[in-house]
Subunit: 455 residues, 2 copies
């Protein structure tokens, strides 16, 4: 029996005490990451120059539950637990018998789910005596989250921001500076990687990663921080899913389907993994859909292979769905979803058939975002709007079938810094780029050779 | 004994059922508004061309408690109750024994307290069969809130946006359009008031009001909506203060002082009036400070007199503190506080000595905003930062005196659309304009003559 409320709020004592590590519950042995030079399995020692040992232990933890440090839970209290809403106005507008719930992570100071990992990363680095964190940012969500987290733990923060984004989103830069971070336009003259790309005007996430890693690796008291893809980042995000399990219990409903947008994968992993573990342990059968842009369809059209995490080839080789590390996705506005690969952990689960994926086009995604804004109020980030599109499609299918389907989706952030894209959509000038299949094919052909086969 | 929590959350059944009308609890008879032409007391009939009768009744209600319609409470559930936070990190940074609490209204879809009144205004107009709401907006907070509320109740919405703001804050405009509103740059060629000002490039709030009123008065199925100043707007905002009374009870503390920023007065009134009624009825002695910009010090340096609400002289004459209706405040970034007058209801209470006020300079205000951002995370609107400045000053006084003072302030909105001002502050180029005393003196000299004396 569904509860009549619109918002399902938890008190701060309900912030989870542990993160959910899904790895030990999965069948089979995970494929190891490989050293980019030797192609041998990479171990903790390969990561110590840029990460503190506590995060490396989390990355490779064999424990299904990883305790959240008290200081991290204290910092989470600045905005967590986040609300779960029933989208009653949207349901009415769609005329669907489906019940639609959304978990809203945009209430964090930085406006998205990213601080869930920025906080523990800043905490563990500060505890390890590190003085400065260096990172890259594309759309700006991760850079602002790390700037915010660094300000809380007294760390310096240096951000290499992709040039095109630096120029187009000056206010994301201002936000980072307000929290005390130093922001460089990438490619910059500060690094070898940057100087080698001086002719490249707009930059790319791959170049910005290379610049940040270079600075962090050079300095004894600086470390690097990554906002998605790696397993410890997915781990940190599981506060999202755990809270939704408690909130759906309050709502008195069991979701039929759980939906989230996928860029590097940590947002979707954070929502889905706690529910997936429940499926595996308790024989439940919640269905999962990762929503990705049709212009960058990693999970739905990529190959499953070892590939680099960055464009330049500095990171370990990771087993994942990939469009090829030098594939350049067309400039869709969901900058956070323009990534050639995906979290290896999430990819292994998709490969095992435990989680599904769907690619959606940019214009129907903005159509969904507008419908959501005008019924539920919140103007979503373009990334999050991919999950809304899939949720609305599920609700319309349920209407067609006369089914009271229960839909839960993750609303990962607000779109306050993405309104230029809304302008373009409303003016009818938003492009809807196709997937560059030939480009991805060429990039996949260039994947490194002589690696272990993974079928 | 103070509760150890950081956030004090109420469930949605704790959204107030009534608004607090402070008027009947005040000593003496209120001075009536006067017709702008005849100077006779203005009655309901003077307002019916632009407001629905339900709102006029609220404006003049003799009842201390005004029931909130169920449909309005339902819409409030999209984001209310809003959180009360204890600013533990800020307290630590200040090294103060004071306890600092803040009520955060920036979680609303439009990012401020303004939807608290936009929702009931849209609801009552829709119920009265009105098809379209017309309004003005300066900084853009009110325009976006009315656009949002109109989208929920199926109303058209037309916004005249002050020209300089229209040019400088394109994303506030995009936000209104995302919610379906039509936005005009004011002065516009659409109205007589606008055409008469065609040579005025930047526009002003006074002109924009005149344009909106002109359009609303001409049309049978369009009405005007105002986002502050009037008593029914202050009434709607009292959900803020009522929730804080319940939340401070949860926190187990009694505030010594309640602080809010004052532009037209509705934000501060909404926070303060429920606490003030408690003072009056229960013999409590909570102290109140309205925080205003030193460049536009209506409550601290204005005269108490009858004046127009707008620049052109179309509105009723209202008894209030005023710097003169043609005083032009210097361009401080807190656009929402650049108003020559203030809510007549709030002014009468200040005049009676029941509520105090303090003016603060722009640069120290931004200094407080940065300190707050780096400790509590949230980047505040420049308007709200005035309350933070006063709250920090109170906490530092308490430190000096070794007092465990309990401070409650209203954080009326976030600064996501004000980051250009933060940029200027961080670059050291933010101006800190003085009060134009001669300008205000000249404007006050030109107040209409032959009105009832009010001393």
């Amino acid at each position: 029996m569904a509860d009549a409320r619109t918002q399902f709020l938890l008190t701060e004592d309900r912030i989870p005490t542990h993160w959910v590590n899904i790895a030990p519950d999965l069948p089979g042995e995970p494929l190891p990451p490989l050293h980019p030079g030797t192609h041998e399995p990479a171990g903790p020692d390969d990561l110590t120059p840029i990460f503190p040992i506590a995060l490396i232990e989390q990355e490779m933890s064999p424990h299904p539950d990883v305790e959240i440090p008290e200081e991290v839970r204290e910092a989470y209290k600045l905005w967590r637990p986040t609300p779960l809403h029933r989208a009653r106005n949207l349901e009415k507008a769609l005329g669907t018998p489906a019940h639609i719930y959304y978990k809203y992570e945009g209430v964090s100071p930085a406006g998205s789910h990213k601080p869930n990992s920025a906080i523990p990363q800043a905490y563990e680095n500060a505890k390890a005596g590190v003085k400065k964190l260096v990172t890259e940012t594309g759309a700006g969500q991760w850079g602002s989250s790390l700037a915010f987290a660094s300000s809380l733990f007294g760390l310096e923060c240096e951000v290499f921001m992709v040039g095109s984004s630096y120029d187009q989103k000056p206010y994301r830069r201002s936000m980072m500076q307000t929290w005390g971070a130093t922001v460089h336009r990438s490619p910059s003259p500060l690094t070898e990687a940057g100087r080698a790309q001086a002719a490249n005007e707009t930059g790319s996430l791959g170049i910005a990663i290379s610049e940040a890693v270079e600075i962090a690796a050079q300095s004894d008291d600086a470390n690097y921080a990554l906002g998605s893809v790696l397993s410890h980042v997915c781990l940190h995000q599981t506060v999202i899913g755990q809270e939704t399990i408690a909130q759906m219990e309050m709502a008195g409903e069991e979701p039929d389907v759980v939906i989230g947008c996928v860029g590097g994968g940590s947002n979707f992993a954070g929502l889905a993994f706690p529910w997936l573990r429940r499926n595996l342990r308790e024989g439940k059968s919640v269905r999962f859909v990762g929503a990705e842009p049709a212009a960058c369809p990693t999970l739905t059209k990529g190959v499953y292979a070892y590939d680099f995490g960055d464009t330049v080839g500095l990171t370990p080789l990771m087993p994942m769905y990939t469009l090829g590390h030098d594939f350049v996705p067309p400039p869709v506005h969901a900058g956070g979803l323009r990534y050639h690969g995906d979290s290896p952990l999430l990819c292994a689960i998709v490969k095992a058939g435990l989680i599904g994926a769907k690619a959606v086009r940019q214009n129907p995604t903005f159509e969904a975002a507008i419908q959501f804004s005008r019924t539920e109020g919140i103007i979503p980030a373009p990334e999050s709007a991919h999950a809304i599109r899939v949720a609305i499609d599920e609700a319309l299918e349920a209407k067609e079938a006369g089914e009271e389907r229960v839909i839960l989706f993750g609303l990962s952030g607000h779109g306050h810094f993405d309104l230029a894209a809304y302008d373009a959509y409303l003016a009818g000038t938003l492009e809807d780029p196709e997937f560059d299949e030939a480009g991805a094919h060429a990039a996949i052909e260039k994947l490194p050779e002589g690696l272990p086969a993974i079928a």
